[in-house]
């Protein structure tokens, strides 16, 4: 099951040129771009691992594309996303984030039902990928 998180995730995967154009758009807006990766695809997992530092003073998208290539070499089998952070006073938050790399095989989620007292039902989603320990999930 294809994970849909962040912007553009209902579109076909972006090509490198498209990623570059989006990143350049972020930089031209004065946002600091950075890369994050994870192998836990749960939608509530907001804290991904950082790849390097946010790039506050790189005027060109080539720098991020360079790091993306490096990151793919190491974590090509995981999810990688671009995060664009707006440091403007009053915002100080992520303005745009989108997935730029995903595992070749995404097993999807199981819906777990918990029967509770009084015929109440609780629902949980659990990724099949997270059955295995972190670091071995998509290899």
């Amino acid at each position: 099951m294809r994970i849909t998180q962040g912007a553009f995730s209902f579109l076909p995967d972006l090509t490198d040129d498209q990623i570059r154009a989006q990143v350049q758009y972020c930089i031209d807006n004065g946002w600091a771009v950075s890369l994050e990766f994870t192998d836990d695809p749960h939608p509530r997992n907001t804290y991904w691992d950082m790849w390097g530092h946010p790039m506050f003073d790189n005027p060109d998208a080539a720098a991020l594309m360079f790091e993306l290539a490096e990151c793919r070499k190491v974590y090509g089998d995981r999810y990688i996303r671009v995060v664009a952070f707006d440091a403007t006073h009053g915002w100080e938050s992520v303005k745009l984030s989108f997935i730029v790399n995903r595992p070749p095989d995404e097993p999807g989620f199981q819906l777990e039902r918990h029967e509770r007292g009084g015929r109440m039902m609780g629902y949980t989603t659990r990724s099949y990928a997270s059955d295995r320990p972190a670091g071995q999930r998509y290899s």
Binding site: M55, P59, A62
Partner: protein, 306 residues
């Protein structure tokens, strides 16, 4: 259908190129004119830049006609004594390359050994990469590049920075242009011990020293920018100063002149403060007199020596 596709193909590749029009449209003329106007002397440098600009313009035209595909090697080395305008020309070069579309942003990142080489194992690579990333889309200007290579210490981390630099210079020619700068003799030795650099650098530009009238002109120009002027005697004093300063050690061409003028301004302010009794007019505030320049140590040394 295939006929229309063919026709479109033919349309997209121009059959002739008007170089004059390209020249006008790219704004290269403006940069070159600015270069001529703002930089005094440096005739051989200007000539080389003109030639380089022409080459790049033709290359671009060839590319638009499908005759050339590879990005030409644009890495350069600027050699010359201190204060001969290497950094200034690098700035203009970045602008020029940007206007010709060879680099995307046209900014200049100026670094020295300290910015590239780390202090302990594993520190150098991230540091160098950080700088390279900052320079992508623009020009990386490495001042006194020969300090990167220290043959006397084989464990020096400079070698690591050189390797990363070479790799990026080769593989990411579209993304950044590297300009190495430094004294001619030491650069020569640096290239000898790092043949990888020599083969990756296409343009070697040599910056000659300025002669005395040129230096005076530069000084006058610097002052003009700050709304100061030299009176006639001061100009004579300045001429005298330049010829004496040249004989002394650590002479750094235009930089020495700038420092001398900064000190002259200091003395002028002091003189005005101590001698002025009434209100001063703008003319008085912006005139540097001979005594402000003659008070320099350069004249003492010359007097003591003779």
């Amino acid at each position: 259908m295939s006929a229309t596709a063919l026709a479109e193909e033919a349309n997209s590749v121009p059959t002739s190129v008007d170089l004059r029009a390209e020249y006008e449209a790219s704004g290269v003329g403006e940069v070159l004119a600015e270069l001529d106007r703002d930089l005094i002397g440096l005739a051989p440098v200007k000539k080389r830049i003109r030639e380089t600009a022409a080459l790049l313009l033709v290359e671009r035209a060839r590319r638009s006609m499908g005759l050339a595909h590879e990005t030409p090697t644009l890495h350069m080395s600027f050699t010359g004594n201190p204060g001969t305008g290497k950094t200034t020309v690098a700035l203009r070069m970045a602008d020029l390359l940007h206007r010709l579309g060879y680099i995307r942003k046209g900014h200049l990142v100026s670094v020295t050994r300290d910015d590239l080489v780390g202090q302990y194992i594993g520190h150098t690579a991230p540091k160098t990469k950080e700088v390279l990333k900052r320079a992508m889309g623009g020009v990386l200007f490495i001042d006194e590049a020969y300090y990167l290579y220290r043959p006397e210490n084989e464990r020096d981390y400079g070698q690591e920075a050189i390797e990363i630099l070479l790799q990026v210079m080769e593989n990411q020619r579209d993304d950044l242009v590297v300009i190495l700068a430094g004294y001619a003799a030491r650069m020569e030795r640096f290239f000898e011990s790092n043949p990888g650099f020599r083969s990756r650098i296409a343009h070697h530009i040599d910056f000659p020293d300025y002669d005395d009238p040129e230096l005076l002109q530069i000084g006058v120009k610097m002052l003009e920018k700050q709304n100061y002027r030299l009176d006639e005697e001061a100009e004579a004093a300045m001429r005298d100063y330049i010829s004496r300063r040249r004989q002394q050690p650590h002479f750094a061409n235009a930089r020495s002149i700038r420092n001398a003028l900064d000190r002259a301004r200091l003395r002028q302010a002091n003189r005005l403060f101590e001698t002025a009794s009434g209100p001063l007019d703008a003319d008085e505030l912006s005139t540097i007199r001979a005594e402000d320049i003659r008070a320099s140590r350069v004249f003492d040394a010359a007097a003591a020596g003779s």
